[in-house]
């Protein structure tokens, strides 16, 4: 029982860290183009600028169509 009192919280904390990482990756648009991410490894010029440019685009919540 005594070892459980620290093993369980450690397991939960690790789970929480995973959840946090997922939320972060979701927010930073890492799931926007899964196919592209797989193919981009093959490109020579490792140009990450465009990702930054992408993110500079404000994701407005406006929906033109009501």
């Amino acid at each position: 029982m005594s070892y459980l009192s620290w093993a369980v919280p450690v397991a939960l904390l690790m789970g929480l860290a995973g959840l946090g990482a997922f939320m972060w990756s979701l927010r930073s648009g890492q799931y926007d183009d899964l196919d592209g991410a797989a193919e981009r490894v093959l490109l020579d010029d490792n140009n990450d600028d465009s990702i930054a440019a992408d993110r500079a685009v404000p994701r407005t919540k406006q929906r033109a169509c009501k």
């Binding site: 789970g15 183009d33 193919e39 490109l43 440019a53 992408d54 994701r59 406006q62 033109a64 169509c65």
Partner: protein, 757 residues
Amino acid sequence: MSCCAPGAAGSLEEANTSIPPDAEVMLVSRRLDQGLMQTELSIPQAHCAACIATVEAVLQRLPGVDSARLNLSARRVSVIWDSQSPVPPMIAALREAGYAAHLFSYEQEASDPELGRLIRALAVAGFAAMNIMLLSVSVWSGADESTRHAFHMVSALLAFPALIYSGRIFYLSAWTALRAGRTNMDVPISIGVALAFALSLHDSILNEPHAYFDAVTMLLFFLLIGRTLDHVMRERARSAVAGLARMMPRGALTIGPDGTRAFRDLRDIVPGDVVLVAAGERVPLDGMVIAGSADLDASIVTGESTPTPVSIGEAVQSGMLNLNGSLTLKVAKVAKDSFLAEMMRMMEAVESGRARYRRIADRAAALYSPVIHAVAAIAFLGWLIASGDWHRSLTIAIAVLIITCPCALGLAVPMVQVVAARRLFEHGVSLKNGGALERLAEVDIVAFDKTGTLTLGQSRVVHSIVEDQADHMVAAALAAHSRHPAARAVASTQPAAAAAVPVDDFREHPGLGVDGWISGHHYRLGRIGWVGDFQLDEAEAEESVVVLSRDGRPIGYFALADITRPGTVTALSTLRAANIDVEMISGDRKTAVCAFADRLGIASWQGEFLPGDKVARLAELADQGRKVLMVGDGLNDAPALAAAHVSMAPASAADIGRNAADLVFMHRELTAVPAALTIARRATVLVRQNLRLAVIYNVFVLPIALAGFVTPLIAALAMSLSSVLVVANAHRIPGAASAPAAQHMTGRISPGLEQTA
């Protein structure tokens, strides 16, 4: 150049398709901060790393382009450019590199805050469910009493945030339904989840053996998967009418009685005002020509394939494109009475009609939830009367709610639709809403538009009697100066001519042709009577021939024909083999429609149909109990696309046509239509199978729950098993049979019928 870029053979043909004018690019672009504009282009052919490199490099080289990034999953590139510079020739540059690109408007797919909310709720529920399951497994495998108590309390701690954060999506929906005096699937879910949590918490504090925290969170997790997928598939807000409004020019150049020129807002222009329409512009308002003459391209308005020459005294409709010459119009109708506005009203009227269709899932849910409530209530009362034990009766009622809860039912439909949408995408078809898939499966007759749908809406030289190669170059050079479709077709036979042969004193004569001086000779290219008589082959009709003359003497001619969309013959025979009737509804002249229908073997056709007639024809078919799939592209098809049971448009369609259609096919081949039908039918079969599976599952577990034998372990097993079964079944939709790229090539090279008509 690379594995995927089509070769030179393709680029010539692509060059014929019209490139949208800069104004349209501006309209669909979004203005960003710091003087930047963002344009989205759809590139259906992009599919590998080499495509990414080529597309991005081509675009970034253009002057004014700040950055370009291709999203390979969506086959879409977003280009950010400087709004100070002129519109970069993005589509032309991509075409040169071998990629067909289409404008993509933001309204079609704005970023979706609701989806983000669902995914976050899903992540929290997943986290809680997995960790609680970890603890529950130790409890089930025989933890001692104090450990069990501790684990149950930890589980309660984990389940609580999931219950509040992830569960609120169901509570909100249930509350909305209850307030409106209805009930939906979310009502039993909300009651079941909340009661099960409360009871489990009560039992855990009293250190009872069973707690249902795992079932509660797992239920939320599974249902949220279904909900998220369903949201992805759900009908996207239709922006058809908004799209149409954007196609209408915003203003026009008017000439006052004193000769002053002013650019005025369309709404301020009244009948009797005088408006100028330059070459390349669309007619802003219905009116009458009082000066000038020009050829007007009405293909998008009426579906007529050959441009009509207009001159003084003739009436013109708004939306027609002025190909050459400049026109002065006297306005006859104000903006809100013009053709485009009328089209908009017509669409608004018919769009409300389709909302009556109820999706299979909704129908199932409406049947399901009262039954579940009744069974749970009966279980509670029955056990209360039989045993008098409140706690036990409540536990059983909750077990009934939880275990019969439509885990599989919630997944059954969206899962199939997501897989089907994926398969359709592999065939180059993008689906705008899940309901369309069900409607598509019911189709028993397909109505095709002609111009732009069965044909590519562009002329092409089928053969020419111009002996001398130099004369041929001259003809192409002359033609290259004109915007007329016939001239474009002649020019595309010798793409290098425009640069190689200089033309002096070029003039365009609307409705007749073009002339100019080249190396000391006077050349004319155009209509047969104007250029000079020429002995034609019997097969040629006058309007599809362009004659060339040198110094007044005819020296040859070019015979033109509208290009049939590749894959048309295959598509039509596949449809017939599947016992689906085919009908052609066109706004073009009856003679042209008849000849074309004959060649394709379409027995049933209608010509010279106005947009209202098309809608009326569809209504007539619907009254006979037919389910019509409308395939069309023009502005004149838009009301029909909105009115049909289900509709499809090619990616090359007018913005408005694409918006009004349920499905859009990206590749040029018409075979996308039967392919989509096959997938839709298969998907509907699987949806029904999945719903049946869900019912069978309930028939098995309900007695167990009613008898009070459901332990948390059994609930977890039953729920997971049924969900896995339904998901696995959804994947049985066959994939893309043949690579679209291969079809692309065969469609292009095959001679005869496939290409010309």
